[in-house]
Structures are given as structure tokens and as C-alpha cells.
Amino acid sequence: MHIIDRRKNPKSKSLGNRQRFIRRAKADIRDAVQDALRKRKVSDVEGEEKIKIRSKSVREPSFSLGNEQGRRQFVLPGNEEYQVGDVISKPPKGGGGGGGAEGSPDGDGQDDFVFTLTKEEFLEVFFEDLALPNLVKRKLASLKSPAPVRAGFTSDGPPAKLAYTRTMRNSLARRIALRRPKTADIAKMEADLAEAEAAGETARAARIREELEALNRRRRLISYIDPLDLRYRRFEQRPQPTTQAVMFCLMDASASMTEGLKDLAKRFFMLLYVFLSRHYQDVDLVFIRHTSVAAEVDEDTFFRGVQTGGTVVSTALEEMQRVIADRYPVDEWNIYAAQASDGHNFSDDMARCMELLNDDLLPLCQYFAYIEVVEREFARSRFASQLWSGYRDVDALHEHFAMRRVSSPGEIFPVFHDLFARDRAEKA
């Protein structure tokens, strides 16, 4: 009999199978992720996700008997009161027994298959849709962006990291402590010996020789550099210095923003959030929605609630200004703002908006992104909305202002392009 310890075997033997499974169910998973995004909070975008997919693409058919017709016999345990000939009414369909696909009319059994996507897998699907360049994707997906930081010395490590000075210092200390004979002492003694021999003082020569031998032995036993002395430079992966940021989500909540447009806006907010959360340890979210009046709301209301009324964008900007003044002192917080709108604004309001942006808000913000979400059919039209034509002037004045018009998730990313480009430029 052998006992083998397999616990140390490489883990996740079935990783290959999992990858194949996800590849197989890609289309379904993508749909499920879209669904999940709708339900998720902006700040939850990075969590693990329990995904429920339709079993269509991962079906494993086999010949099996249907339960809809024919006669069956069962033998069951636990009879308490039945006699032969008794009649029992059938349990309601679906419970117990068969449990299999109940075959909807189009032949698609709807047994949902539930499993959990890891954070990485979820983000990968999320990014895939957004058409991020690979470099950016990698940057975002790496869980933290740690940098190696010197963290003292260690007694173990690769030769390349050998710390010579420290090693030699240890060696020296040890040699002194153990009284390793110095080369000079031995040389001197050898000279003495030669002198004594030359002088014919045999007794002295013998004594010196004996001493010399002892010294030499000691020297052999106590090495010059011992494995004990070795020190290596140690590095620790430390997250880069982090600070805090606040992200303002501004959105037009008037009725002209359809569900689809709101979804699109949500994707935009999520991506900005993911990006910010890479750079800052704490990211606060502030949701401000507006019609003809603006209010700070919680996330659910922000995306779900419907309001009627006109559209006055400046109210939202004023609200943002108020919140900044109240809670987010500029010297402690990095302020980011993302505005999503379908472009409508009360025409007399534009001047006020521009004034607010140019004079008050933009000087406070690290970055202000505006996306105009439009239905696909209008995406190509040349028509410039109120906001668009107004903001174009702002865009010309300020580097950290970005604006885009998007009609599908894939168009969102370019909005961030400037931001990343700036980031790269700073690093270079």
C-alpha cells in the first residue's frame, strides 16, 4: 500500500475545461453580463458575479424517455397508510420526480445554469464589449497596480539580488567576532618564522611554527564569507501611494432619456469608475440627476426613477458645486465628473452652464467628461444639440474636458482616450 500526498499538486487542474466552457457559452455569458450590469451598482462592477445563463449553448442532449405520456411504475419507501387499490393524487408538476426540462413550445428547455464568474472573467467580458485597447485592458484588469518597493534585506534570494555591502559587513563582523586570523598577522608570523630559522633559534621556530599551524587551521575553519553572511535585497510589492477621489455622475433624467440611453450612460459611468478605482484607493460616488431642478440621489433612483419636467442643465452643475463646497475640499479630493445627457437643454440656460463650467467647476476638476447618448438612428446626423454646440467651446478652452457622442458601448472608450494619454505622458 502506498500513501501519496497529492495536496501539493498544481491546483485548478480543470482550468482548461473551464476556459473551454466559457468560450463555449460566450454568447450567453455576454448576455448575462449585460443583464448583470443593468442590475449592478456602478461601484460593484468589479465583484464576482453569479451568472445565470440559458442552457442553450451548453446543452448536453441524450436520448431519454419523456414523462408526458405512457405508464410508469415506482417503488417508494415509507408507506404509512396505503392499501392496495388506494388512489393518490399526483404531486404538482415540476416538483420532485422528473425535474427535467419542461420543453417550452419552441423546443428550448429553459433550465437555467447558474455559476459564478470570477472577477477577472467578468471584467474580461465587460471590457470586450467596450472595445478597449489591450494595453488599457491589462492595466485595468490587474487587480492592483503594485510596484516593487525596497523592504530591507533577506537571507535568501536570487544571486542577482545579492547585497554586497551588507554581506561583507556581516562577514567582517563574524570574522572579528570569531577572531579569524588576518592575512597580515600570518604574513608577519611567517616572516618571524623565517627570521627565527635563519637565526637558528630552533625552539622559537618550533613554537612559531606551532602557532602558525594553529592559526592556519583556524583560518581554514572560519571561512572568509560564510552562507550565514549572505544578504539579499528584498522587494515588496506595494500598492502605489493612493489618494482619494470623488466621481460625480450627472445625468439628465427627463423623459427623453430612454431606458437604452440610460443603460449606455451607466456603462460609461462604470468604466470611469473602474478606471478611477485603479488609481485611487477610495472613490466616492455622487449621483446627481436633473430635470428642471437637480437633486443628489442614491444610485437606484438615479438609474431607475423617472421624472417629468423640462431640462435645465445648470441646476445639476450648481448642485455639484454645492456638494463640492459641502463635502469635498479640493485639496483633499481629486474630483472627476461625468455627465451624460441626450443633449437637450433649455436654450436660455446655456450661457449659465458655460459660465459655471468655465469659471467654477472646471478649475476644480481633474477631468470632466461629457457623453451625449443618442439612439443609433441619429448617430450619424449632423445635427448638433444645444449642449453639444455649447460644450464645443468649452472643449476648445480646456484640456481636461472631453466630449463624445455615443450610440453603442463600443464608442464609449474613446472618451477616456485623452485621459489615458495624459496619464502616459506624465509617466514618460
Binding site: M1, I3, R7, K13, I22, Y82, G96, T116
Partner: protein
């Protein structure tokens, strides 16, 4: 806890340790010492316990086992093993990933506990034990798997006939490498397609009635064939393409084959596809063959769940009690064992929320114990029902004979006694899909015993597990149509949607039109026809 992935439902319910009284405890403990104490286990202890168990199992009970190999794994590795149908190594396929994702989700949610152990029908017999188990659980598991299952694997006729314990690990290794090689060469998608289609037919990849084909010297021939294929590929010369093809005579000779030449009717769909599908390339045939071999290897386990678990549970119960009687394990450990033992063999009644069919551990263990009881202390009823067995005195001999020569269906048919029927309070129901009510047709009384027994045995019959489908016609000369026939019993038709999907897989493999007739077993009327044209993705 058999080699197929199977979790032990572990409903918590304690049964008092009634078998061992205090008097026994006093009688023991004279000379021998405790094998271990506490719940932590170590390799030395496992070795020591294994030796003690082997001494009892092999030395005294006379079990005949393969050498054991015990492998300690983590819960994650156990999940891994689950998803690959309990195989230690297996080719890559998304369906295993699916299973893993499913098991993992259920496990993390706490909905399901993992099996304590997994055992592979191989020589040496591989037992996986989990590092999370306590020492008592390791002892139980060793007695259960390394003795019980192992003996069953080695001695049951189905396993002897269908599986080759010596070769399975090598074969799986080969299969894994071969599939990987094909993926590299022909692309993951191409390989996946063939495996998908073959998996769909997996339940019809065995010859249930005639037994496996003779294998004499075939493996050598196969090796040669593979080598020749490889040689041909290496020495491929385009010149040969220009040489005139054989004349039509040869073709005609081939196409003139009668259905009888094809061995029709053929119930082993995968075998037929592998041998005769007109359009498959050689590597595709080999993939089909790999799936078929796997199906064949797993076939006996599906047919011997009750016996296999019954045998292993009986053996672990005997061994643990012997160990306790001799003072080799302590009181607390014995209680821990009884606790998990009784939850393993717990049978909820049909009204219980936990009810999920008859528990093979419970039924198997009850029947094995019953055989022992009848051999040693028969009642008059037993003598009437089992004249040969009752009072024969050699319980172990009788059990070993049963373990060797039966499968679930025949075992229940032969050995289910009125006492077990009464203990389980079994009753039979007739269910007609057209009625809204079911009728009780037999209960545990004199009039009903035989009826209940016959029906219960019928539930474990191979025909009750899978619909009986055969290939009855294959046209290899003109339109190459394949015709299958499902023999409909008790008006039970195939699940339509599933059937059409599966038939599609078969059509894809076959490469031409495939037709499935559902024929009533009594009137020979064709009830339904399904049709599928190949539609490779």
C-alpha cells in the same frame, strides 16, 4: 462513494449506538491498544490503520482486493475529480468545465457536501481521501473504499467483463494525449464538435445485451494500425494522387454488403458510427472510440450502484465494529463513526422533503445485513423464501457469491426479502400520464412482496435506465440513410426536444440523413418518426 462522482447526502440524524453495549467495551481493551486518538490524522496513523484494516478485511473476512494506493487530496482537487466523472485524468472538454462550475457553485453555497472519498476501479486501486477528514473518517473511508469497493471491483462479473483495471489509467493517459494532439492539429473546435456529438450518444455506446466484444490481440492490431497511419502521413507523396483510382468493381464489392454484414440491428450507436460512418476521418473515428471506451468503462457502475455501495457499507460496518470490539478505536471515535454511518444509510420516506429516491447505501446495506441475518439466524419465513440461504451459516460466503455474480436488477430479484420490504415499507405505484391520480398496486403484505420485488428490480434494469434504441437499417450504397428504431414500452415515447437534438448529433457524425422510428413493442406500429439531416456547425 463509488468511482462515479457521487456525494453522500448527509442528513443529520443520530441513531443511538445500540449494537455495542457496555459489556462489550469491558470485554475488549484487554491487550490491544488504540490505533489513534483525537481527530487529527497523520500519514503514520493512516498507514497503521490501513494495516489493521487490511488484517481484518483480507486476513479474516477473506476479501480479495487489488493493491491499494491512497492519495490525499484537498477539497478543491475533489471538486476537480468530480467534474471529470471521477477519473484521475481525462481529456479536456467544456462539459467537464460546466460540471465543475456547477459543483463549485453548489459547494460554495453550502448546498452540497463533498464525498469523503473517491475510488477508482483500477489496478492498483486508487483511493482519494480528503485532507479535511478526521482520523475516524479516514478509517471509515479506508474500510469502505480500499476494502469494500475494491473487493467489489475485482470480483463482480460485470466489472470483470467490461473493464480492465490494469489498463484504464494508461488508456486515459493515451486518450488525454491523443485529444490534445488532435486539438493542436485540427483545432479545438473540430475536436470539440466530434466530442460533443459522441457525448450525446454516450448512453448508447455499450452493448448491453450481448456483452463486450472479444478483445483477443486487438490492442496489438490497433497499435499497428495507428503506427501505420502515422507512417503514411509522414511519407505522404502527392504523386499517388495522380495514379488512376481503383475501378468501380472494388467499390461495388464494398457497397454490396448486406445489412447482416454490418451486424444489424446494432444497439451500440457509437460502435456503429466508429466502424461505418462514411465521412469520418481516422482521427475522428479514434475520438468516437475514446468516448465509447469511456462509456463502456462506466457501464458496470451504473448497473451496480446498490450492490457496490451495499458491499462497501457492509464491509466498513463490519470492520469498524471489529476494530471497536478489539479496543483498537475508542468510544468517542466509534460514536463519530456511527453518526456518519447512520447519516449515510439514512432513508427519508417519500413524503420527506429530503426524499430523492431510494438511497443506494441504505437499500444495499439493509440487504447485505439481511443476507447475513438469514444465513445466521433465519426465521421460518426466510426458510420458506430462501431455502438454500436460510441457516446456511456461512454469511460471508453467501455475500461474496452474491457480490460476484449479480448486478442490481438480478440481485434485488434474487435477494430482496419480505423483511427488508417491511422495514422500508416499500409500496408500488402505477402511474399513467393520462390520469390525474396514481394507484397503489402493491404494499408490504403477503400478496404484495413478490410484486414489489419484481417492480423494484425492474427499476434497476438497464432498459429502465435508458430507452432501447437500435440501428435497424444502414444504406451504404446509395443514399446512405441510417434508420434507428426505438422500441416503445408502456407507451413511453422519447422526450421530443432532447431526441431531436441528439439525433442531430448522430446525423452530424454519420454525415447523411438519419431517421428514428418509435415503434410500439406490442403492435409494431410506428408511433412517431424523427428525422435529421447533418448540419455541421
Amino acid at each position: 462513494m463509488a468511482a462515479t462522482n457521487q456525494t453522500d447526502a448527509k442528513p443529520k440524524r443520530k441513531r443511538p449506538a445500540k449494537r455495542k453495549s457496555a459489556a462489550k467495551g469491558a470485554a475488549s481493551g484487554a491487550s490491544s491498544t488504540l490505533l489513534y486518538q483525537g481527530s487529527e490524522w497523520s500519514f503514520d496513523q493512516v498507514q497503521k490503520v490501513y494495516d489493521a484494516i487490511e488484517e481484518i478485511g483480507v486476513g479474516e473476512m477473506g476479501l480479495d482486493i487489488y493493491p491499494n494506493q491512497i492519495e490525499v487530496i484537498t477539497s478543491e482537487q475533489m471538486l476537480d475529480a468530480y467534474s471529470s466523472i471521477g477519473m484521475p485524468l481525462l481529456y479536456r472538454h467544456w462539459s467537464f468545465g460546466k460540471r465543475f462550475a456547477h459543483e463549485e457553485t453548489a459547494y460554495r453555497r453550502g448546498a452540497r457536501a463533498l464525498a469523503y472519498e473517491l475510488v477508482i476501479n483500477s489496478n492498483p486501486c486508487i483511493n482519494y481521501i480528503m485532507e479535511e477528514n478526521s482520523m475516524t473518517m479516514q478509517t471509515l473511508v479506508l474500510a469502505h473504499a480500499a476494502m469494500g469497493h475494491n473487493h467489489f471491483f475485482k470480483n463482480n462479473y460485470l466489472f470483470q467483463q467490461w473493464t480492465r483495471a490494469d489498463a484504464i489509467l494508461d488508456y486515459l493517459d493515451f486518450a488525454k494525449a491523443y485529444v490534445a494532439k488532435c486539438e493542436e492539429r485540427y483545432g479545438i473546435d473540430a475536436v470539440e464538435q466530434i466530442l460533443d456529438w459522441s457525448h450525446a450518444l454516450m448512453s448508447h455506446g455499450v452493448n448491453r445485451y450481448v456483452g463486450p466484444r472479444k478483445r483477443g490481440g486487438r490492442e496489438d492490431a490497433r497499435a499497428k494500425q495507428l503506427a501505420r497511419l502515422e507512417y503514411e502521413e509522414q511519407n505522404y507523396d502527392d504523386l499517388w494522387r495522380t495514379v488512376p483510382k481503383a475501378t468501380n468493381d472494388a467499390d461495388r464489392g464494398r457497397s454490396a454488403r448486406e445489412p447482416n454484414d454490418l451486424g444489424l440491428p446494432e444497439e451500440n450507436l457509437l460502435y456503429f458510427v466508429e466502424k461505418h460512418a462514411p465521412k469520418l476521418a481516422d482521427w475522428q473515428r479514434e475520438l468516437v472510440r475514446i468516448v465509447r471506451s469511456l462509456s463502456q468503462y462506466l457501464h458496470p457502475q451504473r448497473q451496480t450502484k446498490v450492490m457496490n455501495e451495499g458491499c462497501a457499507t457492509f464491509v466498513h460496518y463490519e470492520i469498524m465494529n471489529t476494530l471497536y470490539d478489539r479496543g483498537r478505536i475508542g468510544e468517542g471515535e466509534m460514536l463519530e463513526f456511527l453518526h456518519s454511518h447512520s447519516s449515510v444509510v439514512f432513508q427519508p420516506t417519500f413524503k420527506d422533503r429530503r426524499f430523492g429516491g431510494l438511497n443506494p447505501y441504505a437499500l444495499g446495506f439493509a440487504m447485505m445485513n439481511d443476507i447475513k441475518r438469514m444465513a445466521e439466524h433465519p426465521t421460518q419465513e426466510d426458510k420458506d423464501w430462501f431455502p438454500d440461504l436460510a441457516g446456511c451459516g456461512d454469511a460471508l460466503g453467501a455475500l461474496k457469491a452474491a457480490w460476484a455474480d449479480f448486478r442490481d436488477e438480478s440481485f434485488i430479484h434474487q435477494y430482496l426479502s419480505p423483511k427488508v420490504i417491511r422495514d422500508f415499507r416499500l409500496f408500488a405505484l402505477d402511474d399513467d400520464a393520462e390520469d390525474s391520480e396514481m394507484e397503489v398496486s402493491a404494499i408490504h403484505d403477503d400478496a404484495g412482496y413478490r410484486n414489489v420485488r419484481r417492480r423494484l428490480a425492474g427499476q434497476y434494469d438497464a432498459a429502465a435506465l435508458d430507452p432501447s434504441i437500435e440501428i435497424i437499417e444502414a444504406n451504404l450504397s446509395s443514399n446512405r440513410r441510417l434508420v434507428l428504431c426505438h422500441t416503445v414500452r408502456e407507451e413511453r415515447l422519447l422526450d421530443k426536444a432532447e431526441c431531436e437534438r441528439t439525433l442531430q448529433c448522430l446525423a452530424n457524425l454519420w454525415g447523411h440523413r438519419v431517421k428514428l422510428l418509435e415503434v410500439c413493442s406490442e403492435t409494431q406500429d410506428v408511433l412517431v418518426e424523427h428525422d435529421a439531416l447533418p448540419r455541421p456547425l
